[in-house]
Every structure is written in structure tokens, then in C-alpha cells.
Symmetry: C2
Subunit: 109 residues, 2 copies
DNA sequence: GACCCATACCTAGCAGCCCGATGTATAGTG
DNA sequence: CACTATACATCGGGCTGCTAGGTATGGGTC
């Protein structure tokens, strides 16, 4: 979800393109399906984080374009903060281990 | 959940201590309650990621100690990998923005 | 002893999300 | 004209997150 907000922060897009962007950003490692994405987009809409408009060009497929609202931008930065807190905690937990391991290797080696 | 696995990877512990450790690792930013943790621990047990034993010392409170199984260690490294994929994708998404911003600051400053 | 706080564990229940399956429709390609 | 890629959507079972509530003991204070 933070990832979708981050992508929308790059500029207005639509569902299918978001899926492609996720694939691109993760080097094909993240396998999101449309069945996961569209309900999320609807939810973001309900939460007031995005605004959506239909675009139905004469010679093309109809698309629903989404863009971030100010509230969505707030949510994004808040989620980013939260992400960093968890990331930091994981780093810490992981770090002590590395220290212990390298100390061990020093003693053993 | 990856965080709990990471903490258990530091060594055998019990529920209450895990809560304290989370508080410690996150600098008080992560507010986990016991009502969230214990069901998670039970689930980890069901999944075979941890093993648990009671310890009821004569002059102390009974505690349930948990430790990682090999399966849990696998899960941990897999989750870590996943975390890094998402982290990397987020980094990428933020990067183009940061570049634009720093360029802007250079021009402005 | 009465009282309270911190420690230590647990479950119930509801709201909400994940995610696979499925449905609809159109543009472009061989 | 079949087939693929694009483009959107919903549904339902299963699982999760989180709040609220419940039990019990050790240690400290008055």
C-alpha cells in the first residue's frame, strides 16, 4: 500500500500501469495481481487519499486515472515514517547478530 | 511478524520480554500490545516456526519460552528477502523524487 | 494486612484485508 | 477471426489486526 502511494506520488496513473510499475520497480520479484490492486484503489478512494476520473478516448480503452490528494500525500509521508521505524528496528535486531557472528568468526578464525 | 522472528533469532525468550524488546528496538515508536503478540506467537507455533516450553520456577512467575526452529529460521530469511525487495522498490520510487528535489535545491540554493 | 503496580499469560469477537477465481469488454496482431 | 494484451470489476473463504476483557502472582508501600 505504501508502494502504491509512492507510485501515485510520481504522477497520475491508472491501475494496469501501476501493476507494470510495481513489476518494474521490484525487478519482477513482486507479483501483484489486479484482484489485489483494484480493491485497494477503491479503498484509497474511500479514505480520500486519491481522486479518480474516467478517461475514455474515442479510439482507445477506457481507463480510470488516479491521483494523490493532499490527504494522500500526508498518509504517504506518515507511512514512510512508520516504514523507517520498523526498518530501523529490524536493522537493530539484525545488527546485534552480525556483531555476534563476526566476533565469533574472529575468535574461531 | 518478521520483527518477532528476528528477536527470537537473538535467542530464546518469552512474550513479555519480546514486547519490551520491540519497545527498545523501535525507540518506543512501535506500540505493540500483548493482545497482538500472543495470538501471533500461537500462530508461529502452529506454523512450526517456533517451539515453546513452560518454565515455572518455585519462587517466580511462570513463563512460556519460545525459540526458533529450523523452519522458523528459513521463514525469517525468506521474509528478510521479501522485505528487502519491497524496501528496494520503495527506494526506487522515492529516488526519482529525491533526485528532482536535490536538483531543485541546488538551483534554488 | 490492604492495596496497587508491574509482570505474565490468555481468549473472544468483530472488522477488515489478502488473494485466487471469475466475469466483462475492447484494441491490436497474425 | 481467433488470440493475446489491455483494462476494469466483484465475490467469497480464509486469515489477520486489534480492542476489550479475563486470570493470576510477585513486590512494594502505608
Amino acid at each position: 500500500m505504501p508502494l502504491v502511494l509512492a507510485i501515485l506520488d510520481e504522477g497520475e496513473t491508472y491501475g494496469y500501469a501501476i501493476l507494470k510499475r510495481i513489476d518494474e520497480l521490484s525487478g519482477g520479484e513482486l507479483e501483484w495481481t489486479d484482484g489485489m490492486l483494484y480493491p485497494l484503489l477503491h479503498r484509497l478512494d474511500r479514505l480520500g487519499y486519491v481522486e479518480a476520473t474516467w478517461d475514455s478516448p474515442p479510439g482507445g480503452r477506457r481507463r480510470r486515472y488516479y491521483r494523490l490528494t493532499p490527504g494522500g500525500r500526508n498518509a504517504l509521508s506518515e507511512q514512510r515514517r512508520q516504514w523507517e521505524v520498523v526498518s530501523g528496528a529490524l536493522q537493530n535486531a539484525w545488527h546485534s547478530f552480525q556483531v555476534a557472528n563476526s566476533a565469533l568468526r574472529t575468535v574461531e578464525g
